[in-house]
């Protein structure tokens, strides 16, 4: 996957067919069941029958999906279909939204994620998140990366903390750019550097799962390429779920791809299959750009 060229890193959508009388697909087509292979044997995350409601409106409708160990799963779909909502269920970030309700079974290593006795603090240390908009703390670069290890008491000595910070920044591909100005504000970095800082911050606590919500949407092709490279490296140790609007990106970084549509999970398959031989007409319509 590291063989891609810079040209391929562009984020433009696939060229639209020229023909005027192109066949359009009715987006209201009812989805009853997920096609493809939503489940796997060696599942890190197991989700069954997930429903999410914002007040009265349902944003996620009976979604079941597994994410395997050391696997990268890409989530694609039109805007507003519930990708972010679904992703945020996994580390319970939806808890913070007023009126948001999550139903269904989610397990991380067969331990329930939701439940009266589950503490979200260690859960979020195990399931890290990178947000769509880079959101470094208004503190120094060092403090940004050291924050997680500090609050979780991971480093016992200053030297240990320094080491964690350096390693995390190295893995995020940021070390060389910032090693001389660790005490400068993280918000003073460029957008792409900030996003890599956020990734370094997330991996500093060695999470088992990393959730990425459109991590490259604000980045240029070069920064995007670096992050994609990073994702590929991270896969050796982490399980990754990534939401993206770029189908090339999904194709480049993921092993499996899940296509969401209006709160339903339409199709999950090997990335290769989804992009070359989609089984559901909605998936095909989306990846070929034929939505009416």
């Amino acid at each position: 996957m590291n063989t891609m060229t810079l040209d391929a890193a562009g984020q433009t959508a696939p060229a639209q067919p020229e023909s005027v009388e192109k066949a359009t697909v009715d987006t209201d087509t009812r989805v009853t069941e997920t096609v493809g292979q939503p489940f796997c044997d060696d599942a890190k995350l197991r989700m069954r029958g997930i429903n999410v409601f914002y007040g009265e409106t349902q944003a996620i409708n009976d979604v079941s999906l597994d994410i395997g160990r050391n696997e990268v799963v890409a989530m694609i779909g039109p805007s507003g279909c519930g990708k972010s909502t679904f992703l945020r269920c996994i580390n319970r970030m939806n808890d913070t939204i007023e009126g948001c309700r999550v139903e269904g079974d989610l397990t991380l290593d067969d331990e329930p994620i939701y439940g009266p006795r589950v503490d979200v603090v260690p859960l979020r240390a195990r399931v890290g998140m990178v947000f769509q908009k880079p959101n470094p703390f208004p503190k120094s670069i060092y403090e940004n990366v050291a924050y997680g290890p500090k609050i979780h008491g991971i480093a016992s000595r200053r030297a240990e903390l320094d080491e964690i910070v350096e390693n995390s920044l190295r893995r995020a591909g940021l070390w060389n750019e910032v090693k001389d100005r660790l005490d400068q504000p993280g918000t003073g970095l460029s957008g792409g550097q900030q996003q890599r800082l956020c990734i370094a911050r997330a991996i500093a606590v060695s999470p088992e799962v990393i959730l990425m919500d459109e991590p490259c949407s604000a980045l240029d092709p070069i920064a995007t390429a670096r992050i994609e490279e990073l994702i590929d490296e991270l896969r050796e140790n982490y399980t990754i779920a990534i939401v993206t609007h770029s189908m090339q990106q999904a194709a480049r970084v993921s092993q499996r791809t899940a296509y969401f549509h209006l709160g339903h999970l339409v199709e999950v398959n090997d990335t290769e299959t989804v992009f070359t031989n989609p089984q559901h007409e909605l998936t095909e319509a989306y990846i070929t750009g034929r939505f009416g």
Binding site: V121, A125, F137, P138, Y147, G188
Partner: protein, 428 residues
């Protein structure tokens, strides 16, 4: 529907353009006019107060050659007890008689004695207490002139004639003599900054009220800042949104609009009548002002907390920070400048508050500088109110001078608010 050509569209835009510019100009003019009006009002207010009040910072004083004669004082040695009943007035009178030996007759003498302040003997007492060696010796001292003399001397400069009031022709002759020989002079009025209130304007000072205000504000700050910030944090970060919190929110907003005298009545009923705290004390004043400023602090603190970008909270929560860590590590540092600004605005309001303090007895005539929060005290605005009510002409300038002191206090507080905010505000 007819399609407009590009020319038509442009023409329509052009037609509207002149009107838009006109409206903009009018609005700008109105804005400048209202700012000019505001500045004018401030300038008039300040120049009036300064013109009236600057006189209070100087005070006419008479130079006297006093002899601490044990016979006149009626004491043999200097100690606590003898000082309390020693006849310093006699010493002053003797000095005056020596200066004007020609004066005879009872009424003439009484007029002569009224040249100097009735507070002058205290000055001699203090000098003798500080230096017991003076007993039996003589020295030259400046003692404050009576307020009528002071008013007359100060009015001499502006329009020749001078404001005579109760000053007789004979007294004016003496005053002229003393002025000519340099024995009557306007000197810096240190009494104004070192004394408490007094019935005699030349002895009256702002010290007691200033200390009273400081103590009261200290109590207010010590209570209202932590309580207000804690309440704001709870309401904004922890409390569920339901009917109860809505009710609390409405009530806090209502409390902010309650006339302050109502808080005074509440303080009277609760703190003084029920808890039997001392009357006229800065402690009670501070408690009442806390009630009054709490809504302001809570509302501004909540606004400051609300304005912290949610992405920061999300980032911290996503890292596994507990609620408390999110608040104390990330939200509070960013909200602090806004909270402090709100607090200082509340404090400035409290500093100028009069009505509720009248209700709890802080309107009493206080001569002594309060030593603690339970001592009887008054505050600057109440002192202004009391002096403005006094008939003596010399109190007019003291009223204005007290207003100047109060305003400088406010300016210092507001400046420090701006400075603090600048300092705490992170540019990153």
């Amino acid at each position: 529907m007819t399609d407009l050509t590009q020319e038509q569209v442009r023409e329509r835009i052009e037609r509207r353009l002149a009107g838009r510019h006109r409206v903009e100009k009018t609005f700008r003019g109105l804005g400048i006019a209202s700012i000019a009006f505001g500045i004018l009002a401030v300038v008039i207010l300040f120049s009036d107060i300064i013109a009236k009040g600057s006189g209070a910072f100087v005070q006419s004083a008479v130079q006297l050659e006093v002899h601490y004669d044990p016979a006149v004082l009626g004491i043999e040695q200097v100690d606590e007890e003898s000082l309390t009943w020693a006849n310093f007035t006699g010493v002053i009178r003797e000095a005056l008689r020596e200066r004007f030996p020609e004066v005879s007759g009872r009424s003439e003498k009484r007029e002569l004695y009224s040249l100097v302040s009735t507070g002058a003997p205290f000055k001699l007492r203090n000098r003798l207490q500080a230096d017991p060696e003076l007993l039996g010796r003589s020295e030259t001292v400046w003692v404050a002139a009576d307020d009528d003399v002071d008013t007359f001397v100060k009015s001499l400069s502006d329009s020749g004639g001078g404001f005579r009031g109760r000053t007789s022709d004979r007294m004016i002759r003496w005053i002229d003599q003393l002025l000519a020989s340099g024995e009557l002079k306007k000197r810096f009025n240190s009494n104004f900054f070192t004394n408490g209130d007094s019935r005699e304007p030349e002895q009256a000072g702002i010290r007691a009220a200033l200390v009273g205000s400081l103590l009261t504000l200290l109590v207010t700050l010590a209570l209202s800042f932590p309580i207000g910030v804690a309440a704001a944090i709870y309401l904004e970060e922890y409390a569920p949104r339901n009917r109860w919190t809505d009710l609390i929110e409405v009530n806090i907003n209502n409390l902010a609009a309650v006339p302050s005298i109502v808080f005074g009545l509440l303080g009277l009923a609760i703190f003084i009548n029920f808890f039997e705290l001392p009357r006229s004390a800065p402690l009670v004043g501070g408690l009442v002002l806390t009630l009054m400023t709490l809504p302001t602090i809570i509302i501004s603190s909540r606004a400051a907390l609300k304005s912290v970008p949610p992405s920061i909270r999300e980032a911290a929560m996503g890292m596994g920070a507990s609620r408390m860590q999110v608040v104390f590590h990330h939200v509070l540092p960013l909200a602090m400048p806004g909270m402090l600004t709100g607090t200082i605005i509340g404090m400035a309001q409290a500093l100028g508050e009069t009505a509720p303090l009248l209700m709890i007895g802080m309107v009493a005539f206080i001569v002594d500088v309060p030593g603690g929060v339970t001592d009887p005290a008054t505050v600057l605005p109440v002192q202004i109110f009391l002096w403005a009510d006094s008939p003596e002409r010399a109190f007019v300038e003291r009223t204005s001078a007290a207003i100047m002191v109060l305003l400088s206090f406010l300016i210092v507080m507001n400046t420090s608010a701006v400075w603090l905010r600048k300092k705490l505000e992170r540019r990153w």
